[in-house]
């Protein structure tokens, strides 16, 4: 299979304009003749559905939550990047492109990344016009702060609730289109399959979560905006219901899955306290602007942190990376935390924690200034841990947070299945092997507000004469298959709950395919996962009935997909025999412990094709083109 990214053969600075000027568009009179399905209502899905509706298309929006406003984009705290150069500190489109490519360890697609940087400033303009209350300075201008991996201040924020405010902006635009009748929303509805007819994606099969009814919806194009798969680890910073199901089922219908092993482990999360915990809470990266990360120099030092004098504190990031200090990229910060903890310097009973300390920032700027900047994060931490971070340092440890891998898409954001698009976290395209902070909100909104609405016309024009509705026999066939799969989950009637399998899988993944990986562990995981999957299909016990509101059944379906997906993730991690960005293979490190890339063998996107049940995936590669920026060894020292 040849992977055609459809990027025009011009310098990256001209690629997007050249592309848009050369593709087909659908005129305003014809747009109401097309039906588009959007699955997922986070930043990417909501912004795409609102934009497409406003353009005149008929849109159906699906989400499993009770309202589109609850999608997990809402939990993003710190901010959104844009190269406005408001701080006059040398920022530019090129600089944002450079930082993103370097941050992603040169495993992103140059033209996509450049387009993202180019679009970033428009996003801020759009959001402000919608009423997103980004923080302002006293003079009334927009405020900025700094995030990891960069030397400029380009992050826009709304307290610690940036994701919430951006999502509400997109949600409100969406609800306006609902009121105008251009978008119909289907909350509490989960996608179970895509329907392909003559090789094109022509609709989806869904389950109404309230009644259990299986329904089909036809369309001229389907857009997946269903987020990432961090919950393959069970405990992550994702919402408890986030899952890989929509992406995985599209994958099983032919959509390639790219770079599944690229998972971002976020350095600043509240450490695990017990086995029954369902999720991990992130503390925004913005805290690293003013907080200093350290561990005691003496192993097992159980003095209160305040009583440990300066010279006995090991500020390991500041010492190892003098130019970026506490603001190194996430993968570097996470690995450094893992290293000090593995070396025995970790905090508390578990030994899996490091301090993030505001003592010096409070002394310099005053408690009030810190409260204004981070107040809600401090409160949140206090609520969860009963410790007051104004008095004693935060305790943090890395946790799975974001997945750079996802469905393979071309420059139009279409997967290799014609008519099936993937936007936001569910696609693979823009962050390479590691995403910089405050860039996921940027990518979701670039995709949803500006890129997809302009590129989708190119495909739609092409299928103008081929109307299909739900009466086509393929729809019934797919609906029956979905129903049969649900029956098979219900009928196992074994002795283990879906959650117990998710926990066990999560442990396998965290131990064997977590922050650092090696061939031996990955091979072990590739034995453990199929065995666990086998047990799942003989020992699962789902409560309740299939024709009712049944959260046990919802979870069972998601865990079934995670059990298949996890194997591909480990396979990809094994195949990528180099270290790059988040993906650290212990076999490939420099003497100082930093990742050692292999650009000769692995400067490509690994896109996996599903062949069939119990048949090995086939690997396809898309060579990465480094015309504008030659890969160098990433250094943050």
């Amino acid at each position: 299979m040849k992977l055609d990214s459809k990027i025009p053969n011009v310098p990256i600075q001209e690629a997007w304009r050249t592309h848009i000027d050369s593709i087909n568009l659908v005129g305003p009179k014809n747009r109401p003749k097309y039906d588009i399905i959007v699955v997922g209502s986070g930043l990417a899905g909501a912004s795409a559905a609102a934009s497409l509706g406003a353009m005149g298309y008929n849109v159906k929006l699906f989400c499993f939550q009770d309202s589109p406003r609850r999608a997990h984009s809402i939990a993003a705290q710190g901010g959104i990047n844009a190269s406005k150069n408001y701080r006059n500190d040398g920022d530019s489109t090129w600089r944002l492109f450079y930082d993103t490519q370097k941050g992603g360890d040169f495993r992103g697609r140059e033209a996509n990344v450049y387009r993202l940087a180019e679009t970033s400033t428009q996003i801020i303009d759009q959001c402000v016009a919608q009423g997103v209350p980004f923080a302002r300075e006293y003079g009334g201008n927009l405020a900025n702060r700094s995030f990891g991996g960069v030397l400029v201040e380009r992050t826009f924020y709304a307290r610690g609730q940036t994701g919430q405010q951006l999502l509400l902006g997109a949600y409100q635009a969406l609800e306006e289109q609902v009121a105008l009748g251009k978008v119909k929303q289907y909350p509490r509805t989960e996608m179970h399959d895509i329907v392909k007819i003559d090789g094109r994606c022509r609709g989806i099969v869904v389950r109404d979560l309230l009644t259990g009814e299986i329904k089909t919806h036809s369309a001229d194009a389907v857009v997946l905006a269903t987020g990432g798969y961090s919950n393959v680890y069970h405990r992550s910073t994702n919402a408890v219901n986030c899952n890989v199901t929509a992406a995985w089922r599209a994958h099983k219908q032919g959509s390639l899955f790219a770079n599944p092993c690229f998972v971002q482990i976020h350095p600043t999360c509240i450490p695990v306290h017990g086995d029954d915990q369902s999720k991990l809470t992130l503390m925004s990266e913005s805290l690293r602007n003013d907080g200093r990360i350290w561990v005691p120099r003496k192993k097992g030092d159980d003095r209160r942190p305040r009583d440990i004098p300066e010279e006995e504190r090991y500020y390991y990031l500041e010492e190892r990376y003098p130019s970026f200090g506490n603001l190194v990229p996430r993968d570097v910060a996470s690995r450094a935390a893992k290293k000090v903890c593995d070396d025995g310097y970790g905090l508390g009973e578990t030994g899996f924690g490091v301090y993030l300390d505001f003592r010096d920032a409070i002394a310099t700027h005053g408690k009030e200034a810190i409260e204004a900047k981070y107040g809600n994060l401090f409160d949140m931490y206090k609520d969860i841990t009963a410790d007051d971070p104004y008095e004693t340092p935060f305790k943090i440890y890395p946790a799975p947070h974001y997945t750079m891998g996802g469905l393979w898409v071309d420059y139009n954001l279409m997967t290799n299945v014609p008519g099936l698009y993937a936007i936001g976290e569910v696609n693979f395209s823009d962050h390479g092997a590691n995403r910089l902070g405050a860039s996921s909100l940027m990518q979701c909104l670039a995709d949803g507000y500006f890129i997809l609405p302009q590129t989708i016309g190119d495909y739609l024009r092409d299928i103008y004469q081929q109307k299909i509705d739900e009466n086509h026999p393929e729809f019934e066939k797919h609906a029956e298959a979905v129903d049969a799969k649900i029956d098979s989950l219900m009928n196992i009637k074994g002795s283990r709950t879906p959650l117990s399998f998710q926990k066990e899988l999560g442990n396998i993944m965290w131990q064997h395919c977590g922050m650092s990986r090696n061939a031996e562990d990955l091979k072990k995981a590739l034995e453990l996962i199929p065995a666990l999957r086998k047990e799942f299909w003989s020992e699962l016990k789902v409560a309740g009935t299939k024709d009712s509101f049944n959260q046990s059944l919802e979870r069972a379906g998601r865990v079934a997909d995670f059990l298949e997906f996890a194997e591909l993730m480990c396979k990809d991690a094994l195949e990528r025999d180099e270290s790059c960005g988040c993906h650290l293979r212990e076999e490939h490190i420099h003497e100082d412990g930093e990742a050692k890339r292999d650009d000769v063998k692995f400067s490509h996107v690994a896109a996996w094709e599903w062949i069939g049940e119990n048949v090995a995936h086939q690997l396809h590669t898309e060579k990465l083109d480094h015309q504008a920026l030659k890969p160098t060894t990433r250094s943050y020292k």
């Binding site: 589109p68 609850r70 016009a129 209350p133 006293y138 609902v178």
Partner: protein
């Protein structure tokens, strides 16, 4: 810690519900209330009993999914918190904890502790937005917004749409929810063109959904996990009154009286 949980069980919107007791033992004080419900559901599943349905997603207090009345208080003990951020250390060992759904005629029970909040979506649809279709927009700094005005707008925008205000209100009023959106958008210069029509439409939709009126109990403000102030209700009433009292003038009409 050990607890007796008394939980509202209702099989479907039409079914009659009742409180049912369950015992939980050896719960760590660091466990969250919802994680404990997960533990209970694991036990119930293994005993072939129907697990307790409840809404939750982010479990960090921002998505607004969780919606429990704990011992008679929306979102339970503690100020400025959601149900998912309640930890067992806030209870006394051995106590009975009562868990019910948010109750209001306009937010009907779907199952057990799950309610239908689609009325909130319809209130937003009626006017809770600034019309600004995607595309190039003016440079934001060409329209400075004072720091304090912006922060006040953000105070209102912080609403997570959970419905605790409705559950806490003796009248089942959604005034705080509606006022928060009207306040957020109405305090910004971008929100001015649609300010009057927004207030009018949203208040009317809120009434149509069957929410009650406000009689200044201020229970909503007390239950609000994001501390949205009832001063925004005053603001909303002012905007609404202005919108209703002023004739809808055709600005291009003639000055002649007829």
């Amino acid at each position: 810690m050990n607890f007796t949980l008394s939980i509202w069980r209702q099989a479907s919107p039409e079914a009659k519900g009742k409180m049912v007791e369950y015992k939980m033992s050896n719960v760590s004080e660091e466990t969250s209330l919802l994680d404990m419900l997960d533990m209970l559901n694991e036990k119930l599943t293994l005993k072939d009993e129907e697990p307790v349905a409840f809404d939750s997603d982010c479990r960090e207090g921002i998505c607004g999914s969780c919606s429990l009345v704990v011992d008679g208080r929306a979102h339970g003990p503690g100020k400025l918190t959601t149900s998912c951020q309640v930890f067992m250390r806030s209870f006394t060992d051995g106590q009975t904890i009562h868990l019910e759904p948010f109750r209001s005629a306009a937010l009907p029970v779907v199952k057990d502790l799950v309610v239908n909040r689609s009325a909130f979506d319809r209130v937003i649809q009626s006017g809770g937005y600034i019309s600004a279709h995607s595309g190039p927009k003016p440079e934001p700094n060409s329209m400075p917004i004072g720091h304090d005005e912006l922060e006040e707008s953000m105070d209102a925008a912080a609403c997570i749409g959970c419905g605790a205000c409705v559950a806490a209100c003796p009248n089942g009023s959604a005034m705080l929810f509606t006022a928060a959106k009207i306040g957020h958008l109405g305090l910004l210069p971008q929100g001015q063109p649609e300010r009057a029509s927004r207030a009018k439409a949203m208040v009317q939709q809120m009434d149509e959904e069957g929410f009650g009126a406000c009689t200044n109990y201020a229970e909503c403000q007390d239950a609000c996990p994001k501390g949205v102030s009832i001063k925004f209700i005053g603001r909303m009433n002012k905007d609404f009154a202005k919108a209703m009292l002023c004739d809808e003038l055709d600005p291009r009409g003639s000055m002649d009286s007829n």
